[in-house]
Subunit: 346 residues, 4 copies
């Protein structure tokens, strides 16, 4: 059994990691940290874990942490992660970092959108943890930068089109909608129940969301040219789920049948990517609680555009599920181990 | 007191009409029809109306109906409306029709997207009931075609830009999200609570929604050129509300300040259109239960696009509220009469 | 026009007061206070109020406050209210206090459940603001203690039975369920969207909720004997609404018809209390956004118990709506003025 | 691998069975029936199952059905089940029936609350499938009557007190609240999203819900005397979850500590029953998607009553999860096999 630790266990990605790992046959969760809840059972912070995860939250220095597990998930905010990861690697541990700190390959871009980077030397080593694109590199990595939730839904949705140059990347418009768990578990008025329920809004309008450089980095690799997107995130009155609606002008006429075949072929061996039957489209409630990414595709014959819709569970495939998928690859487990549960519906 | 009738009172637009009219100082609701609930008090169908609206649902032929009121709202499905409206007009009544039957000025377009039209001769006479654009004509009309919910949110959002030719209409992408009341009160598995809650999906993907010809008709008038749009509707797990996110490439550089001024000036005397302060954007929960349309606007300086976000309550400004606004105009009442209630929040 | 002030305008009862008052024909809202948002327009705190309420939040000492309005609502937490109210009264103003500070007639009971009372001399003068029970006294009062939300739903539901001694008060079990707005607008993890949505829980189990002494006080008056209840509140994943399910053993056999008649007769002239037709029961969605209290009643013939179900909107009839009803009485306005809007459904 | 069939796969208990069985290591789902969707892939009816369950819905006569699997779940309405089960048993198969048809041991009681019973001879043989009470009998049964959702939550909550005669059963009041999936997947106006969301109501008030005889049967066995209850169900705006609040007068004073110890001892070896730490109580969101039943208990020292709160997921422990638990017992698998996943939160 691999000994695994969660650093930052009291957020929503923390509890989702604990939930997935509690049923994972190859690992044992041996340490969970939380500054705020140190000394309390994790199952008091999250009563859902009662009789399933029996662990105290702790607040430990890096060296003690390293002794407690062989593999770590860092589920802490960006900037915090860049200081926690180096000593773990130095102690010979492997890490999946769920923050943004090691996702951007160009440190100047990172520093423009975030802040100064204290561990820039690790950026080159870190592998971007989208297994459907970087499976081999992930399996050899000791540090994996787990992708952002929006970038995961978008990159998987656009990869087949960009690789084949079927769309003009300069025309890409991405309208994404996320469940509220994406805003984290901090106590803010803006995410109170009464502020969110029975409502809907856009936020970070006008190309200002920090996931943009990450999305553009990955789309540029796929398109083999520099891609700039219009990206607008919205807040849904649901806990879990991201649905991205993506629009682009096609280059060369394709039929719906062509596109359907392309997507089905691209992803036919992927256990977590599911292409909707022709004429049907994803819904967040059909991926809820699972590591699946559902994709639907259609041409708009009136306007010569292609529309791609993708859906994931933002804290599963968009965070903790994908992190476990990466852990599986990094440790030689079956990639699907602990992750093949069907989505919850209703 | 104007005697008013609601034809088709047992749907969601019907109950919203009854709610608004129950507080309207210039009218008396004298008849409400429903085939399904004929003989039952309307307040049994909608217990919210108990002690507020005291009326039996009836099922009456056109001639008897005409004797019971001087003004009618037809809140029935398209195709049904086109047969109900002519005898009411013939009897000297005025009508606001909430269906799609008299919205499309080109009967061929109507028949392509809907079905054969049995009252095409009335199409020319009907006035498109968006008061912010057609106030004078509405006040002189005897038949007003109340706009669709999506078209209302979109047309008000884009009017200032299209009139001034600030955006290239060929690049327009409209990503709209509607509350579930828009799907009506029919008993369908797809709109059951458990199918919709905690979820989100697109529908009618690929330029197939029937509001498209209506939207394009109005945008073309504004742009003074033929406009074709990419329009994708989505289903929100909320009762009321539509939020439309609209994207287009700008023609000639504008600053956020220019745009903010343009919108504020365009709508400064409109009681129901509210421009969000610079840098802020609408949310459906801030227009809930009101006749307001909130609009926010911003450039994306990275991609040279303009993003416009608009929000309405789909059964108020998107249907019954706007219908009452039209009734006010058609009868010489103050346009705001019965409609100035602030939105419900939380 | 009566000049009215809201002290503590940035909470949910504050915004609901502002919403109701913005449509009230007899009053003008002249001042709104908030320590946190002082200097900001109230419509920035609550964008729902844009173009409807045009007022800055202020933070004023009592003497300046008193100059700005003739009538005040104190929508602040208990303990804060007891210090704010006296100088307003001393300045000759009338006050409806929405906190708990003047509801409990026995200061010892207050101090046992809350804390020391700094203005005990005002307790005797304050009138408990449930108009259906204390209409005359309210209309003569200068200080009205606006009832709690749970107590309102319970007292109106039980009054007919207790007055007529139809139930044994010692057997009373009250199981109440409240929307989340009742928990206020403070930033707490426990009321975040993701903690509340798609869930349900009891809280303050075992007779510890602070509304208990208030409920027992009023039920004891009605029963003309000391009443002790079992009361358990629960948290609903809705914004607005309280539904109370009440159980008691009957004393002397009553038929459903007897009970229905009793309730209909008791409340037949009350504009805000609506008795459900026999065999039907309230739902919070049928009172949403209104000042209504709906009540349904039935015997359980198998167990000789009577079940009473009542529903209100907790921030309308349970707080701000009732506060305006009291203001109307205290100022000689029609009691229903500004409050007769039908509930919002859907 | 045990070959398993689901009869009636297109309802919510059907899809939950398919979800659980898709991850169950000892079984293979070989047949799924649905009259309505015969010929369609089950994953088209429930896209959540795509790439996870690969099976067509079929409509088969009993003899063909029997050839397709060795074990059956009948997830059909009562009355339908009583005709489907006998031929399966006759063919040597084992069955867990999720309907009410074999739960009531006294056929006269069944026929009073439901309708005539066509297979009364099987009633004696059927074992009531609550493993925490009837584990041994279940493991030897060929027909198990899977308990109702409300009865499961109530029986597990009250068993320790009734067995020890700590409460007076004549004073039992049970106020239960269920998620909307309990109302099934039929297309009814009453369970449309817009009718349920942001609302709450009681139904079947006055001792008329059909689960009452089942609850009383099991409570009477536990109390060793005839028990009659007051039971009121309510409809929650959530998909999954039942929370039951139960009240009774205690016989002989108990401390909270006594009760806590009693419950912890009673259930300490039960993998699916979790006693909340003293002073804390269950929430449906902490059992969502799991086979857990959480219970909290407290005295109300003011009124001498005991309050017990229990929570389950109504379609997991309240239906399909418990059905799989029974299947495990009936086939010699580990009782927890396929069921130990932690609840989903958030």
């Amino acid at each position: 059994m691999l000994k695994v630790g969660i650093i930052g266990a009291s957020g929503y990605t923390g509890v989702e990691l604990a939930r997935i790992l509690s049923s994972h046959p190859e690992v044992e969760l041996t340490v969970a940290t939380s500054r705020k809840y140190a000394g309390q059972p994790l199952s008091e912070v999250f009563p859902s874990l009662r009789k399933r995860v029996d662990l105290l939250c702790e607040n430990l220095p890096a060296d003690e942490l390293a002794e407690r597990a062989d593999f770590f998930f860092t589920a802490v905010p960006h900037k915090t992660a860049m200081d926690i990861v180096p000593p773990l690697l130095a102690a010979g541990k492997k890490v999946v970092d769920l923050s943004a700190d090691f996702r951007i390959r160009d440190v100047a871009v990172y520093e423009k959108w975030y802040q100064e980077h204290s561990s820039a030397e690790l950026i080159n080593e870190a592998v971007y943890g989208l297994p459907e694109l970087y499976r081999t590199q992930i399996s050899e990595a000791r540090l994996v930068a787990n992708p952002g939730c929006y970038p995961t839904s978008i990159t998987l949705g656009l990869a087949p089109l960009l690789r084949k140059k079927i769309i003009d990347p300069a025309t890409l418009i991405i309208d994404s909608k996320s469940g509220t768990s994406g805003a984290g578990r901090g106590a803010n008025v803006g995410t109170l129940f009464c502020e969110v329920t029975d409502g809907f809004r856009a936020y970070k309008v006008g190309g200002t969301h920090r996931h943009i450089p990450e999305i553009e980095q990955e789309l540029s690799v796929l398109a083999n040219t520099s891609v700039e997107i219009s990206f607008t995130p919205h807040l849904l009155p649901i806990s879990r789920g991201i649905l991205s609606s993506m629009y682009a002008v096609q280059q060369g006429a394709k039929t719906d049948k062509d596109l359907q075949d392309l997507y089905e072929n691209t992803y036919k061996d992927e256990p977590f990517v599911r292409i909707c039957p022709a004429g049907t489209f994803p819904a967040t409630q059909y991926v809820r609680g699972s590591n699946c990414c559902d994709i639907g595709i259609k041409t708009d014959q009136r306007t010569d555009r292609i529309i791609i819709i993708s859906a994931i569970d933002n804290i599963a495939k968009g965070a903790s599920g994908q992190a476990v998928q990466n852990m599986n690859l990094m440790n030689g487990f079956a990639e699907t181990c602990g992750l093949m549960g069907s989505p919850f519906f209703p």
